[in-house]
Symmetry: D3
Subunit: 276 residues, 6 copies
């Protein structure tokens, strides 16, 4: 055969898959960090907010394991407990964590600014809305109900405990595509506030967009941001953006109201025949 | 931020997902065609082998619906039955089809030449083996058992009735990646003998390889091929290859023993930073 | 429609179109230069070999017009004739030129080293051979007969006077493709020793290869080259290569025996999906 | 030499080559189909409009040969005539076809909506207009005269009987470029309503645009379209578009009034340095 | 490691490096040509303006050496002096040249139209301004002072005598980037009116823009242009543009007031991830 | 103008610029880390080897400033000194650091395995050797002398104190290119063992290669590596490689003896027309 034919997707984005905390709800992604810090404190180990955040986006049991594996945290643990951490310890912390997290989520699930308007606009353009989270089912349920009350109801939601492995694996995204009957990957955007979110999108072969100002990489509440000097705010925001671009994000926005403009840019890329 | 970082997968292929009939077993992909032709005959409608083959690769109920939708077949149906086909007719045919297919498969599931050697070579290079089919569970089971007896045991198998929609949707491939824990799509090849197989691979964002000589696009048994004049054989093979390239296949092979060389070519593409 | 399909030619080169003088015969491309210099001398205007060569590759009437349009030549003409050159002058020179050229060609149409072997190798690989020239029919005839005697017989020959406009227009190449029934342009290489040859290939959308050492850009006979100091030879050769690369040549060779290796490189480009 | 220089065409489109029936005249491309169906009927063989259309775009003798080669048609022929078709039969049919076609064309050569305005706009932008057809000279003449009366007079017209082989070969396009003195291929668009038209453009290395709604792939008159249910119309139109994109069309339009916008898009591609 | 990350610069242009004569001052780039012609005349050798211009952009000693190396000039020299040119001759000419040039520059350093407005606009967008020249220090000083009086004061200036080798080497550009603390090369544009300027930009890996109408390739004063027939003006301008594009210029403008639009185009290229 | 010409470098690599510590000498990049740790200890602040390494590759004063800016180090400093660090403190530490470093370097400047053979091979292929370092002049001098005694003498050496700003700025590389008269950037490779080295190469537009096993990202002496469990060694090596690929390295090697194979790969990229 003399010819092959390279297929190119030339239509628009058909599905956006949003992360929850730090992306659509919970300004600064506080709920899980609070719960982690409280959980470690309950075991006698003081962990800073910054440290507790590093693996954000992962399934929560893996998250605990990763934090306790950091050299400094491991040393503190041994100092307090006289022995290295065991699988049983992690089980205990995870069990405690779930109730701490549920409590924390209850008070920290407010929709972020711009979410409703953005989702509305996407739907007007025929785009479907998926929602994925590193939370386990019960925690996810609380967030979903809170968001629904405020008016954000995705077309499909799934959480890490529903698949064999959470992010950075792409299974949450693939299951969402299956449930909403959307392919190919070029027609999908994955949106999240952590490097792990970005990696899961790249691992699914879809477009990836990072959210810098309201999420985990910034790690500040709206009030904390208001109290920040302008230059320090700018420095931190730059650093949050950088961490998402370094992870391979195709685009980075500060807040959800900038998202529709990015969808336009991606649609223009698709029209030119570009792939994620 | 001044820089973004485009991630490129630079390792080798980690998973190959093979179709069954026409690709790994059943020379000429005869079993389902036999069953379809018999099934239509049972309803008083004569359908040629060529016509019965056209939608090959699809889930089997969709397949029946597609064939009966062809203008000529529809006319014959109406001539015989005095009315257009109904959903109930399709149900009847599908029910009959399953038992006809099971019978047909029993005698037509021999491994194709080169399969064992190729699978062996792939495994030696650390490549995992997935297997997907448009068959429903019972039919798949027979094929799997036959192949196992001959020595071909994939690491994971899944069939169309396990997912909401069969090919050309990519769900079978995504589920296989999830079960065998392999990502990103660049690390995966989907192999099949029909345009619908190729489309499912493209819809998953993976590499796609078509099999021309032993599969549905050729549609001939080994004996039929032996009886063919050299020039006619060549013409038909060219036409089979063309139909797979036209569907967007990245590579087309004639038989399974040519597959390892294609994996090498794809690994070279990956080393140069190319994507499917 | 969601998809478009970009067609890529993936087979090998099927046709090579060679220029004559400086490429396949007439070392240093002396015949036409001799004739031009003699022709101008007959009109009382001394023109250097270098100047006479500059527009080489063009149809010969255009060539005369271009040379006489050079500022310095125009000035000399006016000094001698007391008036600018007229169309009638160009007609006269062209008429004289034809007989001068015929004489010059008679003695300067030897095949260049490597030609027979290269053509033989191409034909063994199923490649067809076209031949084009800026010469008018009678001049071309002499060259063709000489070459045939030495064993080089192209599958098709055409000369500038057979088309509305010679090089850099691509009509000679298009007519050769039509006569030998070869398409698409990606399957064709045009080979010549002048920037105008290169341009005609680019204007046809085919691959272009320049010949540096034996052609017009070097402008030296075999004997003149033997008498050149090694460093001066290298300098001149570099300059000849540069003029062909600057014109947009995809590859440049020194002599015809290096051509088969370039065909292999271009076939490798085609296999990777590259276009000229 | 350390550098090579890749030439890129950066100016605008200079020539558009339009097909006639289905593209500029004859809504639904009815004339040749009528003639073919009538011609086969005269030989006692009933052929559907759909079947008669399949090879549309080809030179008309090849067209007849292709239709009679379809398995079903061949069987009918043998049933009626008691022997396979012979070259003499094809000659007879071709001879009959010419007069049937001339009659059919007389009544089906109206300009399509938007043609005059589009041609006018192109000319205002300095674009030349070529016209090619699979018709033989006499048939082409009728179409040309009808179109001229309505105001559409291309700068150059050529038909399949003027070249050694019609479409999908690119000779008609190359001859048009030569006659109108336009190169390189990047500066040319070929426009037609059949996959064979698209292939001829790709084989010439030029841009290709398919016309879906008024042409052969849709195969319906304006009246037939008006009588179609909206959903069926949409389904058929999608299918027509798909067949042109599958053939490798760079762009597909529904009707001629959408063409100027596509020229703008192609000019933007050229400005970015893209090739067809 | 499975992934590599290709870094792409996605911000805007941060630095523009302008040549002086023919680009920002001295319409037609007359000063150095005048000085060269006078210098050769002082040695008894008549050289045309066109010949004296050819190596424009080079360091001035190299320039003299190059001119005297042209075959025709060398012949004239030998005719006059009875011997080939020596290094001592070039020293003499260079020494004379410096004073001739200083005189010539005094009267030919007026700012070109559009310079002040363009520089002003660039600075408003935060772009830094570098200035480089092939002149030696004293000559550069005069130009700088004249320009400063008219209001054009670059952020950094450097001349060929400050680095081991002038253009086409990129050292002037690299030193400017270092002095103004701007990297990477993708963030920089080099602007000049000669092929040597373009080459120096390509050799630095930065974007390159040529200036056609006011510079050396046109080689005409404003008055000379006014006296030119429209068609001749167009022909010469086309030829000037061509010489800059042939050298590899990314963009060519006629006059400085067209430059801001080119910066916008390059910023759009950077946003799409393109490199120089 | 209808055409532009994109220049592509098609020759081989002409210059390699090597970092010193961790790349060519000092296995595990111990000398500066030792000095930093000792320097902080002298101020009463205990800093781990891992922390002291993070900004490796920077100019050394910037390095101290960066380490003391880490949250945890800053806290320790304030606990010990009762006040934040001042510029005067950094001056003191820098002054102490220089003598500590000189001492440390004296005993830790052995050539790494494979260096001499690799440099020898490069030179045989006509490649020039540059050497850059973040050390100040005196420290660099010691390293240079040690290396010279062992037989490694670069063609040019330069250190951070010779330019306005050290890495990640590209000035060291640009100055080396200028001194050795090598351009364009495509002809140059920068080699180092830290993300900052990689960034400086990208900022110069040259090819970048990271060294994983012997350098700072691994941070282990040969003996420490011998004592490491195989799996832990592999984990650490993967992590070192990852940090260099994440920074945008085009290639990563473990040790210097793998470097010539990478040069071959880059030469193959250049032959295909790729840029860094």
């Amino acid at each position: 055969m003399e010819y092959r034919f390279k297929r190119t997707y030339q239509a628009n984005i058909k599905l956006v898959v949003f992360d929850w905390a730090g992306t659509m709800v919970d300004f600064g992604c506080q709920a899980p960090v609070d719960a982690f810090v409280s959980g470690f404190r309950a075991m006698g180990v003081e962990v800073s907010m910054e440290t507790a955040r590093i693996p954000m986006g992962m399934e929560k049991r893996d998250h605990i394991k990763t934090v306790v594996g950091f050299a400094e945290v491991a040393r503190k643990w041994e100092r307090v407990h006289g022995r290295p951490v065991t699988d049983a310890d992690i089980d205990t912390m995870y069990d405690n964590f779930t109730s701490l997290l549920l409590k924390s989520i209850e008070s920290k699930s407010e929709l972020l600014p711009g979410v409703l308007k953005t989702v509305d606009l996407l739907r007007k353009n025929g785009v479907k809305i998926g929602a994925t989270t590193g939370y386990f089912t019960e925690a996810a349920e609380i967030v979903i109900q809170h968001a629904a009350k405020e008016g954000y109801i995705p077309d499909f939601t799934i959480c890490s405990s529903d698949v064999p492995a959470g992010r950075p694996y792409p299974w949450l995204i693939f299951r969402t595509m299956e449930a909403l009957n959307v392919c190919p990957p070029e027609a999908v955007i994955n949106v999240g506030d952590t490097p792990v979110d970005i990696a899961s999108g790249l691992n699914a072969g879809v477009w990836t967009v990072g959210v810098a100002a309201t999420g985990n990489q910034m790690g500040l509440t709206e009030e904390e941001i208001r109290n920040l000097a302008a230059q320090e705010y700018k420095r931190r925001l730059e650093s949050a953006r950088e961490s998402l671009f370094n992870a391979g994000a195709h685009y980075v926005i500060d807040r959800m109201d900038q998202f529709p403009a990015v969808v336009d840019k991606i649609n223009a890329c698709l029209a030119r025949g570009e792939k994620p």
